[in-house]
Each structure stands twice: as C-alpha cells, then as structure tokens.
C-alpha cells in the first residue's frame, strides 16, 4: 500500500494541534487540579485522536487524504492561502475605514438628530463598514464601484 508522508496542509494542521495540546498540558499543570482537569483531559483526547489519524493516514487509510489544496475540487493551495491573506488584510482596512466613516455618521447624527444609543452607533459603523468592504473588494477584483457592480445595477 502506498505510504503517504507528504508534508502538506493536513500534516501541518495536525502538528499544530499536537503543539496546542502540548502547550495546554505544559501550562495547565500550573493550575489547581479542579481548573486543569478539563483542558488537560481535552488535550490528551486531542493527542490520541491526532496520532490515530496520522497513523491511519500513514497506513494508507482515508483519514488524511484530503489536503488544503482540494476537497473534491481543484482550488490550488496557493490560491487558498492568498485568499486568506487578502481577505484578512482587506477586512482589517475596511473595518478601520468603516469605523472612521461610521463614527463620523454617528457623531453627526447623535449631535443633531439621535439620542445616544449604542445600537445606532453599531448601525452607523456597520453602514460605513459595509460600504468600505464593498468598495475594497471591488477594487481588489480589478473593478471600481463606478464601473463595477453599481454600473451593472444601474444599467441592468
């Protein structure tokens, strides 16, 4: 049977899980018995399951067949990692822009129109955020709001 020893997404994730379980046990031992019981029990369970999965895979089982580069489809791994990277960067930028825009809207309306209510604060920021993310995503995809989605909407 073919031996599987690829150092791929599955292996990296499993090693990360082992490291997490190891660190949990290491730090958990400092706590009193009643507070360390659950994290250490969960870590031991995790270690057993991860080792079992890795062993199963090495034996040719289907436990770790799927890699980050595809579960039934053919999205390249690089595209996936790029997506995670860009979605994080753009969401962070959009969030700050939305925060600034939304806070501006909120400040204006709370001074002149609304009373001070946190839900309105959240709604104002969500409006700013939604617009910011929308614009940034369209720019990321090589389209501006003007000639992209808005144009499609206006022109059918």
């Amino acid at each position: 049977m073919e031996q599987k020893s690829r150092f791929d997404g599955f292996t990296i994730t499993m090693l990360a899980m082992l490291a997490l379980a190891g660190l949990t046990i290491y730090f958990g031992m400092d706590y009193k018995p009643i507070s360390r019981f659950l994290p250490i029990a969960a870590s031991i369970l995790m270690i057993v399951c991860v080792l079992w999965l890795m062993y199963d895979r090495a034996k040719g089982g289907d436990a770790g067949e799927k890699s980050l580069s595809g579960e039934g489809d053919d999205i390249p791994a690089t595209q996936i990692w790029q997506s995670i990277f860009w979605i994080s960067i753009f969401a962070a930028i959009a969030f700050f822009l939305g925060f600034i825009v939304g806070s501006g809207i909120y400040t204006f309306f709370s001074l002149y129109v609304w009373g001070k209510r946190s839900i309105r604060h959240a709604l104002a920021i969500s409006g700013g955020l939604a617009i910011s993310i929308y614009v940034l995503f369209n720019m990321l995809l090589g389209k501006t709001l003007y000639n992209g989605v808005l144009f499609d909407l206006l022109m059918g």
Binding site: F27, A42, S43, M46, V50, I84, A91, A122, I125, Y134
Partner: protein
Amino acid sequence: MDTLAIIATAWSDLLQPWSMFYLILGVVIGLVFGVLPGLGGTTALALLIPFSIGMTASDAIILMAGVMASTPTSGAVTAILLNTPGTAPNAATTLDGYPLAKQGKAGLAIGAASMASGVGGILGIIFLIAMIPITREIVLMFGPPEFFLLTILGLISVSLSTGAKFLKSLVVGAFGVIVSCVGYHFVTGEIRFSGGLDYLWDGFKLVPAMIGFFAVSEMINLWAKGGSISEGGDMAKVNLKQVLQGCWLPFKHWSVTLRGSAIGTGVGALPGVGGTVAAFMAYTLAVASAKPADRESFGQGNIIGVIAPEASNNAKEGGALVPTLAFGIPGSAEMAVFLSVLVLHGMVPGPTIMTESIDIIWILILATVVSGILASAITILTASSMAKLTFVDSKTLVPVVLAFALIGSYSLNNEFLDVVAALGFGVIGFIFMRLGFPRISFPLALVLAPIMETSYYQTMKIGDGSLGILFDRTPSIVIFACIIGCLLYFLKGFVFDRSVASSANS
C-alpha cells in the same frame, strides 16, 4: 397562571407590530440563508446574535424562531431546481426532487416539499408541547453527575453522527473545549491560558467565535472558489398551478408525511444526530415501505421521495428544542447558537426554564409554528426567484456577509479584538473545513465545556472527590452505558470495517 392564560398572553405578544416585524424579518433572512448552499441556519443565527442584543428577550426569540423554522424550507428549492441542496439535510430531497424537475414537474415537487415542511414543522412542535410536562419531571431527576455525563455523551454522539469522521470530529471537539478553557475560572479564580492578554481574561467570546467559525470561514471558501454558488444547472420553470397541486400531495400521502415527521422529531431529540440523518432515514424508510413495484421509481422522480425527507427535516426542529431547552444540551450546531441567544438574554436552559421562562417558551413555540406556515407560503409563491439567489456572484455576496459578520463581532462589546478573534476563528474554521473536519463539534464544545466543568466541580464536591458517585444513581448509570455504547459502536465499525476491507484486499 394556567397554561391557557400563558398561551393567550404569548399569542397577544406575538401579534404586536414589532414582534410580527421581527418574525417576518427572521423568516425572510432564514429563507435567503437556507436557499444559499453553505450558509444555512447556523450562519444566519450567528450573524444575528449581536443585533438581537438590543431587543427584548421575546423579540430576539421570535427573530431566531423565524430563522430556524424557515431555513430548511427554502433549502429544498435549490435541491429540486438545481440539484444543489441549500442545507445539508436537503440532500435527500435532491434524489427525487431533481429528477422531477427534469421531467417538468418542478412546481409539483416544490409545492409538495413546502407543504410537507410546514406540516412536519407543526407536528414537531406538537411533540415539543407534549414533552413539556414530561421533561420537567425527567430534568428534576438529573443532578450534576448526570449533567457531567450528558455533556460527554453530547460531544461523543455528535462525533458519532459524522460517521467515518468520528476521530476528526473529536479533534475539533477537543479544540473547542481547550478554547473554552481560556480565561477566568469560576471557582478558583485562576486566569488560564491568557498569555498575558487582558482581552483573554474573560475568555474567547462565544459570538465572535461562532461568527468566525461559520460565517467568515464560508466566505473565505467562497472567495477562494470564486464565481457564484451555483455555476449552472437546469433552471426549470416553476408553474404556480403545479405548485398548488403539489401542496395537496403531503395530505394525500398522509402516512408518509406522518412517518417522516415522527422520524424527524425522534431523531432531532437525540443530541447530535441531526437533520441529515433524519432526512435520509425518512427517505430510506419511505423506499422500504413502498410497494415492491414502486421501489424502482425512487431516484427517478417519486414525489414520496420528496415528501418524506422534507417532513422529517422540519419536524426535527421541534424535537431538537427538547434537549436544548430542558437540559441545556444542544442537539446541533444551530441549537448551540440558539442556546447562546437564550443565555445572552438571561435565560438559563435546564430545569428552571420550564418554570421561570415558560411564557418565552410558548412565544417560541407559537413563533415557530407561524414562521413555518409563513415560510412555506412564501416559498410556494417565490420559489423560482429564490433559486436565482444562488447565482449571485461571490464578489457581491462575500463583502456583504463579511461586513455583517465583522460588525456583528464588533458591536457586541465595541471591542476591536473581537473582530480579530472572528477573523482568526474564520481561518481555523476554513482550514478544518478544507481538511474534511466536521465543524459541528466546535460550537457544541464551546457551549458544553462550561456546563461540563461546572457539573464536574459539583460532582466532586458531592462525592467528596470520588468519581464513584457517577455510578451511584440510575440515570447516571444509564447515560454512562450510552457513552460506552457509542464508543463500542465506533470501535466495532472501525475494527470490523478494516478487517473486512483488508481481507477483501488480500
């Protein structure tokens, strides 16, 4: 106050203009999220939690009930028209629904599916109503040892329901338990695993974690995939006359509808087994109980193959609410999120909820029934338009959902690090999703771990530090036997299947 007076009060509360607005809003949101494959009820509920904070408890429950009752109904539309189930349990509907659509009977299938969903939902709720007096008695028999074992059983049975992914599910569950342990310990006062960050003193918040793990991860996946959710498919035309004809069929085949609903309710009440199992069980039973001559028509467009899983799929909601409300043990990821809504609004699921918050329970029951009927009616009238939602491009869908996800994470505590946490859990959830790890165990572990820890502490106190107390009482022995049974079932399958496979290979 007697039950009739409580029901009357709950009904009048539901008929208030704002309550009706939230109900309709919940139904519309649920229908949209149900029709979009990959999103589903869990994502919708997670996204709505922060917005429910400013509402009264009854309005929040009504909104959530609207979502929960309508999601499975619209999921059938894409299953029938596009061969793409909107939610996982709708997969069973594709088996006969899509062949019917190809034969030009899409309207018939959608009408039957929507009506079966409505009837199934109502039957499930009747089961819940019947269980209310009984569960109160059962719950009072349970003490800390039983709750401790019940949380373990919940996690194991959820993992068992994932079949061959049992070990993977346990890994995700253990990860969830570890995550839930971060922060202040309620007894000893120790700050665990905070890494010196003040933000982590209260632990990871449930809402950002849920939003990240479900909504953000789905958006990353859609972003990586690109394009729209449905790439093509036969967009069969939906004839309204046919739809109305289809509405009659669940009543014509009443035994199939009743049987499907009974299976859905029963399976839904078991923690962790879930709607997919219920839908396929109902389908399999429908095939098995058909006349031998009719069996061959299943898979080629038999309307009974649509009615049975859809009735079962919606009936499971009523069943799943029983362990969620009575024991605080959610039966599914969706119920785990719903549980957090109850807790956020000051209701503690378990023995007390049946007495102290019985008015809210009745509002939930009535809202679920009305939402189910409303969702079926809207689906019947707008099925064709609904299916078009799946053709929305990712560059439109991702930023809109992501904006709601991030602002939802932020608005709960006006805390930016909650947004970072949501993004972080989004990446982790995405990695688990891509590697084929069932994500259902994570929210369950997050909700169950504090209950597990509390009941473990109380058990130790009652038993003077001895675990022997776990085997002193009949209910705990029964639950322990169920845990052992689940583990033996897994080991039997694992060892037996492997030995059969290896002997076949040799």
